[in-house]
């Protein structure tokens, strides 16, 4: 169990915004950077890449699983496209190690700040919203489970 208190969701978003600000508003650099983030995402075991774990609403294939350790949520994900993998890695960076309530209450605003829709397009942005929705669904399930369990 990980007892380290993670930084707040707001603080991590600020950090992501600051990282992207270094890229000079250059679409190509942003795309390459996102792909690079995806390459660093810890691998997901092949047996987790099942149809049940596919996030609905994404044009690319995205697999997502979640587990609860103590009162903290941890996600694992993968995608068949490099950019999407990079995008989901941003969400994992923000949400991993947070409490379910914090994930549910979170208001993600970094996408606008980094101009995401401009460099990945509307369809992928919609897919990105589907990923967030799925992660919040997991958080809700864990929160409910903890409440029933206690």
């Amino acid at each position: 169990m990980n007892n380290e208190t993670p930084r707040s969701i707001a603080a991590i978003q600020d950090e992501i915004i600051a990282d992207f600000a270094l890229l000079d508003d250059d679409a190509e650099m942003k795309v390459l950077y996102v792909m690079e983030l995806g390459q660093k995402l810890p691998p997901m075991p092949d047996e987790d890449k099942t149809d049940e774990n596919i996030v609905k609403g994404c044009q690319s294939r995205v697999w997502l699983t979640a587990r609860l350790e103590g009162d903290r949520v941890y996600f694992t994900a993968d995608s068949n496209t490099a950019i999407t993998k990079g995008l989901v890695s941003l969400l994992i960076r923000i949400f991993n190690g947070q409490k379910p309530e914090a994930i549910l209450a979170s208001d993600l605003h970094f996408m606008n700040a980094i101009g995401m829709e401009r460099f990945i397009g509307t369809q992928r942005t919609n897919g990105f919203s589907a990923m967030i929705r799925q992660m919040k669904m997991y958080a809700l399930a864990f929160k409910t489970k903890m409440e029933i369990g206690s």
Binding site: A27, E28, V31, M35, S60, A82, I83, T84, F119, G121
Partner: protein, 412 residues
Amino acid sequence: MAISATLSTDIKKIREEFPVLSQKVNGRDLVYFDNAATSQKPRQVIQALVDYYQTSNANIHRGIHTLAERATKAYEETREDARAFINAESSSEIIFVRGVTEGINLVASSYGRAFLREGDEVIISALEHHSNIVPWQLICEEKKAKLRIVPVTDIGEIDLDAYRKLLSDRTRIVATNHASNTLGTINPVAEITRMAHAHGAVVLIDGAQAGAHLDIDVRAIDCDFYCLSAHKMYGPTGTGILYGKRKLLEAMPPYQGGGEMIKDVTFEKTTYNELPYKFEAGTPNIADVIAYREAFRFILGLGRETIRAHEHDLLTYATEKLSSMPSVKIVGTAAEKVGVVSFVVDGIHPFDIGQMLDARGIAVRTGHHCTQPLMDRYGIEGTVRASFAVYNTKEEIDRLAEGLQRVINFVK
């Protein structure tokens, strides 16, 4: 050599006719290689739209006032130009539709409903766009007819031997494209038609990818139906034509009911108008049809041979350039192709390539291109597709190759 030198000077002039091309996307000059999805529009087409609304807007065929006369005349002039463009015998064989999709649906519904019987067969090729698959599936299901598929070879050509074996006295309709939107293959439509006619079947040709690129002569092909979409041939969106042989169109029931398509209406009985109006119910897309005329003029003004020669140059150049990249594999290498290059890259998803190219101002199409069965045939999910038009240049192909190399280097 002299021809291509002249043309390359001319291409600059041609590009100036397309206002949309002179912009930057993500900080670089736009390279537009998604012409198989829709082509850009020259000034004369845009101007015709503006002129119509500013000087002639009126509903056609019914009014007797001056504007109605003017609009009707312009609308019917497009019909005549469309007839000439495909060398049909009579302009009454030209029906304005929303595009190829509606043209095929019209034939499948009207001809199919009237003439298909249980146990009959409809043959299409494995190269077809979903719009030339689904309407046939629908009518076959309704009529308990059978849809048969002609396979394609490894290089992306229709397997004519297999086609010959599928043809029988049960075959009622054969539908195929003139050129494939995904692979670029130009199909031997005259031969396909001749073989179908020998079995008494009618033939529909989807000309979506031929309109801007190939010489079209429906009488030489001898096909029974031929469809075009204006927007893929420098014309406006939302219009196109269905050509049909007169005696077939006359025998077919109307597709939609409404104004314009009738002769007399009582509550007991309606008699239908003559061709082509029988199939043009309601107020049509007047403005776009009128502007479509300028697209025909643009193409014929440049000359279809000149366009074909230039696009063939681009195709050859792009094929050589991309083939020389070790991790790139071209999908579809038929002997006769329009300017379409579809490819996959080892270990990189087409979406990622498309996004990276867009970041460099290059517009390509990625995915299954509405031909999922064809993707299954090659065991791939999708491709990256660059498709050319007369305004594209070799320098733009260099930019594509450069962008592609950058993604490959990054991933490796």
